[in-house]
Structure formats: structure tokens, C-alpha cells
Symmetry: C2
Subunit: 483 residues, 2 copies
């Protein structure tokens, strides 16, 4: 067999293992009886180990060497380019470090859970200290020429993105966005609509159906935390959750739809290759945020959502519904933050994790630094670490460099939406009618089909004609502050 | 690492892959959107290939050689004994033949499906011819000293069972059982109870709850064909199906419960070893048949089932319900056959597949031979191949030696039930009260906990004090014929 065929066969195997892992996790969160948890952890450990072994095996290196300078078509060239990148990166991590990272991540999550419940940062500090030290050790292994430790960590989530670029973009946001918060809080304050769960369920089902979600190739289920699983190109599974009197389900189901649509609209030629998935965390998040912020939260699409709630027996005007979906309030908790203040929560985390990785912030000083950042960026006082630096699992799990993608997603979504409207014309009328066909097509063409062939920065430039910028997002949130 | 630790680690990995495969198949049959099928086939292919590679890798042979004569505790001795057996058997099959068998099985099932739909045996004959030839080739690879081809095939389903033993047992049954059919058909003819689906659902849920089926470690779902998946020792999943006016769901849910209970009551020390599963197809089937025939179909347990149907809003007397669960009628279709005639359907298939494997029956002559056997054993005339030799998928899938386990399950269930009552005393009162705790315990002690440590024949002898015999089954069905 040719080296390219051998390589592609191995990549297909690894892709299949990834899909199976996705399914096994989906089952764990949606279907599994609780007592199945210990066996499930073993099963997932075995899948991860096998997948790692098969992706780092020496034969891949031999095939890649044989393919050096080979005459290949464009797709195979990209496959080989990304395979070499992934393989070299994986091989730079010694097995013992990989094992230690996995163990520290599991321990850290346990420690975090207990510490958060007890609101006891000191109980969590040793685990965090260990995670930071291991992340620096890991970064030292994988860093390329001239890369800082944080650059090297970012590459796992957004290949090619640089810390300096984040400093620039988040710096601008940190200067401009906080000024809008007081006016927006006054103009569009939080409003609660007392929507019964049954009406939410009907509206979620009806809205997703309008977007092409059918039983033949989708599942829509309930889980404790909404998420998306792409088990196959035609097997997309989103989840949501319902709380009486809240409208989060409308936003979160559209958010998850955005993730799912990305994976469904990949070029079929990329299926079962190393290019057959979303290219980065921030582009993935831009797709979910686009449907959450620019569709679900648009005043135009409120017509559709209000009509669907009406079908579910809950009468509400589009204007009132829209107001309840965009209420702004500086708050303590990231996951329930409004569309305007959300990126500020992320900027605080970016500053703090960067300082920890660069050794400029002692772990013991994190709670105080958190309070300072939240005061400066959001003007809120943090009454406890449980509502402060203990609220997210990421650092407990050893994930550093992940948080930025949440804010980048907001920025890129706004930039893509403007580029789309620049090309297609204003979309308000189509949003009011619930006709999203042209939006789906444009995203498929400019974002989705490329899979991992384009990295974050190049994708943004090609799709929007410009580098990453904050202006489109600022224009998106300005109306909330009456600006 | 010691050879025994290395071996156990590998066996744990293979066991995990098996559990994952079980889950992936469960999802395919219960949850997957239809369009997910092509990707799912790829994923299952990859899992099977990996599992095969890891179970046949040369390092296992090296570890086994190192362990030859090593001082091991009893459990490890059994692990090594069965590992050697499995490994040597798997290694005897050349890779090309394994690939060809898998391909022929997939093709054969396609061919069978089309041929059955068209009632066209000739369209299926070439695929069957190929499957028989490959099964003989496979048998020649794996056969031990003095084993016939059919012996060698049987070993995949019931290790250690011999064709001569089946000839003896099935020969006795074929002589004695048909004589009961006319009397039983007259005395307990089929009766249809018009039970609505909702009442069946309530009765299934209520009955399973009495047997310990709770949401914390079980799932009960609906699928086109009832089956059981054991995803972990505490993650058991049974399915059933509901048709208006039928009571099959009561029988099939207890049947599947029997399979699930077997895997749940294995000795926990066997978990993630090569011994941690049911020992054979016939013992597995004996567990499902025990709950189907000796619990669900007992006149005593009819009290419970009638009460549960009553809770579901359908009033019926225990006697009428029992009559509807045991109606006897010589018929054409195996899967809907009554408890008395069921083994005769199997004997016909055993005779015919044995003759095909031994080269004594030409494929082209199968339809005529089928008609002859069904006439002789069941006294029925077969009007078409669709209702005759094309009704089952097994031969299309290349499974020869599998059918006997269905009838053996009936025989062994009856033999175990008599042994249990011999030890515990008559169980009628407990069945009437729906208290099955002692039955569960006895099965756990005498059957389940052993896993693969005991093969079929040894297990039956130890649990019942006797070799395999037909007398207990004959005593079980005698009352149906008023004998």
C-alpha cells in the first residue's frame, strides 16, 4: 500500500475512534444510568489511550517521511501537512508527562468540585499549583521557535493564534466595552418572562424544525448542561435544558445548533480524515454564538420565536420576548452573563491565566487578583470565591488557553455576520420570516466546508476580508446601550 | 511489568472495547437517527478490527509462554487457560480468511434480505453456497484433534459441546416431543387477549420493578427486535416492543431480563478480564428462557402479571392470562413459536445446517429438505420459502452452529429449574407473590458468578448434578398436553 493510503487509513481509524468517543460521552451525559459511571470512566480511558497510541505510532512518522516532496493533489497535501503538525506535536510529549497530565486533570476536577462546594480556595490551591506547573512543562515540550509558553498552549485550541494578538484585541475590548455597561443596564435591564416548560419545549422543537432539524439525522435531548455531539456527518445530537420561567432553552438550543451545523456542512471529502472537524475552538464558538447572538437574539427573529411560543400556548409580543433575551446586567457568573458583558468575564480569565502561566501571579494571590479584575472590568464586588475564581472547572481540569475562544467566538461571529450582510444585503426580512437558508449556505461556503484546512486567522481573513477586529462586535452591542 | 499484569491489562482493554461495541450497537438500534447508519457501520468496523488486532497480537503469545508453569492463584490460572484457548483459536485464522468471512457475512445478509422480500431462494443460493464453503474452510483452520467441522463451529458458541451430544439430545426430543403437539394444540390452543399498549407498558414496568430493575442502573427501551446490552456491570439495558392486542411484550421483557441478570451477577473479580461474560450461547439462552418459560409462563406468576395489567387498566383473570401465554400450535415461524413446539423448529435447522456443513445436503436441495423436516417434526406444510428456509438471517450471516443454543437454552432452563426446586422446595407460592429473590440468588450462585470459568457442560453438571437431558423439559411441557 502507498504511504498516502496507509496514512489515510490510520487517520480514518483515529477519526472513527473520535466519533465513538463522542457517542460514548453523549450517552454518559444523556442516557447512562448513574451506576454506569465507573465502568464508563474505564471505557473512555481505554478509548483515549488507544487513540493516542494510534496517532503517535512510529509508522506515521515513516509514512510522513516517505511523503516528503511526493506529488500529491491539494487535499492530500493538506492532509499530510496537518498530519505532520499533529504527529510532531504529540510526539514531543513524553508518555510519562501525558499520563501525569491526565491524572492531574482528573484529580484537579475532584479537588475543584469539593473546594467550590465548601467555598474553600485554599483546598483547591495545591491542585491548581500542580496544574499550572504541568502546563508550563507541557508548553516547554511543544513550543516552537520563538513561542511563549502561553502561545504553545493556545495552539491546542486555536492553532497559530498568538498571545500578542489576544493582548491587542482583548486590550481594546477592555478599554471600550465597560463604558457601555451602565447605559445598557438601564436601557435593556434583565426581564423575566414566566414561560412554562411545555411552551419552551414546543418553541425549541418548532424553531429547530424550521432550521432543518429532522428526526432522520438529528437528535434533540435534555442534559444537565447543553452540549453537541457530532457522531457522524448525518448524525448530529444537540441537547438543551428547561427551567420553568426561563428562556435560556431558546438561546442554548440555537447555540448548540450552530456547533452542529458547522460539523454537518464540512466538505464530505474531509470525512474520516484528519481535516474532518471544526478547525478551532474559537471558530466553533463563533458558529454557536452567531446563531445565539445574531439569530436568536435579533429583534427580527423574535417574530419567529414569539410565534413558536404562541404555538406552545404562551402568548408574548416579539418586542417583550426580545427584551427578555438581551437584558444586560453586570454580574458575577460567566455562564449566565448577557451578550454585552460576557466577553469581559473572559478577559478577566485571560489576564489571570496568562499571569499564572508566565509566573507573574502566585496561586495564593489569585482570589485577590480575581476581585480586582472583576471590579475593574465589570464594576462588581465578588462576595466569595465560590462566586469568583472557583466558578469554572477549566483550571481544575488543567485547561489553560481555552477561555479566550469564548470571547473570540463572540467577536468572530459579529465579524462574519457583517461580512455576510455585506455580501447578501440586510437579512432582517429573512430572519422575520424564519428563512435561514441563505445564512446556512453562506456559512457552509465561507466557514464550514474548509474543516481544518484553514486555521483560525486565515479563515477569518478569507471569510471577512479583514483581520480579527472588535468593531463589528461593538456595533452589534451598541444598540443595547442606545449608542 | 509481570507477564500476568501485562496480559490482564490487555484483556481489560479488549473487554472495554467489547463494552463500547455493545453500547454502540445499542445506540444504533435504539437511539441513532436513520441517516447515521453509514458512519456507524464504519465505526463498528474500526472497533472490531482494533479489538481483533489487540486480541491476536504476538505479545499475548509471548506473555502466555512466560506464564507457562508459573505459580498463579486460581483466578489467574483460569484467566491464562482461557486466554491461551482464545488466542490460539484466533491465531489459527489467517487474516485474509477473517476479512473474507466478514465480507461474506455482510453480503450474505444483504442477499438474504432481498431474497426473502422477493421469496426467491435461487437469488440467495450463491451467497449461502459461499457462506457454507467459508465456514468449512474456517472450521478446518480451527478444528482440534478429532473434531469434525461442525464440532469446530460449535466451539464458537458453546465451547466443548460436541455434535454427537447434540445428535443424542435432539434425537430424543425429535422422537418424543412431536407426539405431544396434537393434544396440546387441543387443550391449550392459542388465545388472543386484546391488551392495549398502555396496559402492556405499565405491566412491563411494574413487573420489572418487582425484580429489581431501577433507573439507577438499568434502562428499558423500545426497539424493533428485543435485545439486551450489558454496557457495564451496573449498566444493563433491555429493550422490548409493543403491539396492540399482543402479550409478547410481557414474555420478551422477562426473557431479556434473564440475559441481563446473568451478566449483572457475575463475580465482580471477573470484571474486565476475559472471564467476565456469560460462558456460552446456550447458557445465556437458558437464563432468558428460564425467566420466559418458568417465570413469565408459569400459572403462579400469572397472578403477578394479571395484577400488573390491572394496575395498567386492563382487567384479566390469571387463568385467562396464563392461557394466552402458553397457547400451543404447530406453526411455520420460529420466532413466534410456542414453548412446546419451539425446540422442534431448532431441530430442523440443526439437522439441515449439519448436513450442509458435512456436504450431505446440496444448497439447491435446501428448500425441499426444509419442507420435509417441517412436515416430519411439526406436521406443517410450508407454502413458500419466505415462510420456510428464508425466514432467519443466521445462514445469510454465515452463522452455523448457533441455532442449537436456542433449543439447548429451553432444555437447560428446565433442568436448572428442577434442580433449584429440588434444593429450595416448590417455588409456586413465591411466584404468586412475585418474590423472586431466592431464584435470583440461586442462579447467581450456581450459574452467573462463574462467568467463563466453567464451560456449558461442566456448568450444567455442577449446577444440576446431571448431564444434559431432555426429561425436565418434557415434564415442563407435559401439562400443556394434559399429560
Amino acid at each position: 500500500m502507498d504511504a498516502i493510503d496507509s496514512l489515510r487509513e490510520r487517520l480514518a481509524e483515529v477519526a472513527d475512534l473520535g466519533s465513538v468517543e463522542m457517542l460514548v460521552v453523549w450517552d454518559q451525559l444523556v442516557m447512562m444510568p448513574a451506576a454506569g459511571a465507573p465502568a464508563r470512566a474505564q471505557q473512555l480511558g481505554t478509548l483515549a489511550r488507544l487513540s493516542h497510541e494510534r496517532s503517535t505510532a512510529a509508522d506515521i512518522g515513516a509514512w510522513l517521511d516517505q511523503l516528503d516532496g511526493a506529488s500529491l493533489d491539494e487535499l492530500d497535501r493538506d492532509i499530510v501537512r496537518v498530519a505532520r503538525r499533529d504527529w510532531e506535536r504529540a510526539c514531543r510529549v513524553p508518555d510519562e508527562l501525558a499520563v501525569e497530565l491526565a491524572r492531574a486533570s482528573a484529580d484537579g476536577q475532584d479537588s475543584w468540585q469539593a473546594a467550590r462546594a465548601a467555598d474553600d480556595f485554599d483546598a483547591f490551591a495545591p491542585a491548581l499549583e500542580r496544574n499550572v506547573a504541568l502546563a508550563r512543562e507541557y508548553a516547554a515540550c511543544v513550543a516552537g521557535d520563538g513561542q511563549s509558553a502561553y502561545d504553545a498552549l493556545l495552539d491546542d485550541y486555536d492553532f497559530g493564534l498568538r498571545t500578542d494578538e489576544l493582548r491587542r484585541v482583548f486590550g481594546e475590548l477592555a478599554r471600550e466595552l465597560p463604558a457601555l455597561v451602565p447605559a445598557a443596564s438601564e436601557r435593556t435591564p434583565p426581564r423575566v418572562l414566566d414561560v412554562p416548560v411545555a411552551a419552551q419545549q414546543a418553541a425549541v422543537a418548532g424553531t429547530l424544525r424550521r432550521l432543518g432539524v429532522d428526526d432522520g439525522s438529528w437528535r434533540v435531548d435534555v442534559s444537565a448542561h447543553p452540549f453537541t455531539a457530532w457522531v457522524g456527518m448525518h448524525d448530529s445530537r444537540v441537547t438543551t435544558r428547561y427551567s420553568d420561567g426561563e428562556v435560556e432553552s431558546l438561546l442554548s438550543s440555537l447555540h448548540e445548533y450552530g456547533h452542529a451545523l458547522y460539523e454537518r456542512q464540512l466538505d464530505p471529502a474531509l470525512d474520516r480524515t484528519n481535516l474532518g472537524s471544526g478547525t478551532s475552538m474559537s471558530i466553533h464558538e463563533s458558529q454557536s454564538k452567531l446563531w445565539e447572538n445574531h439569530v436568536a437574539r435579533s429583534p427580527d427573529f423574535a417574530d419567529v420565536l414569539a410565534a413558536e411560543l404562541g404555538q406552545g400556548g404562551f402568548a408574548v409580543s416579539p418586542a417583550d420576548l426580545h427584551a427578555s433575551l438581551v437584558g444586560v446586567e453586570a454580574s458575577l457568573i460567566r455562564v449566565s452573563a448577557d451578550p454585552l458583558t460576557y466577553p469581559l468575564h473572559i478577559i478577566a480569565r485571560f489576564e489571570l491565566e496568562l499571569a499564572m502561566i508566565e509566573g507573574e501571579l502566585e496561586i495564593a494571590d489569585l482570589p485577590a487578583a480575581w476581585r480586582e479584575a472583576m471590579g475593574r472590568l465589570l464594576g462588581v464586588e465578588v462576595p466569595s470565591d465560590r462566586l469568583g475564581c472557583l466558578q469554572d472547572v477549566h483550571w481544575g481540569a488543567g485547561s489553560f488557553g481555552y477561555f479566550p475562544s469564548y470571547a473570540l467566538g463572540c467577536l468572530i461571529a459579529a465579524q462574519l455576520w457583517e461580512a455576510m450582510e455585506g455580501e447578501l444585503g440586510a437579512l432582517g426580512e429573512e430572519l422575520r420570516r424564519g428563512e435561514l437558508g441563505r445564512v446556512q449556505l453562506w456559512l457552509g461556503e465561507h466557514v464550514h466546508r474548509h474543516g481544518r484546512r484553514l486555521d483560525t486567522t486565515e479563515l477569518v481573513e478569507r471569510a471577512t476580508g479583514r483581520g480579527l477586529e472588535i468593531a463589528p462586535f461593538m456595533r452589534y452591542v451598541a444598540p443595547l446601550a442606545g449608542a
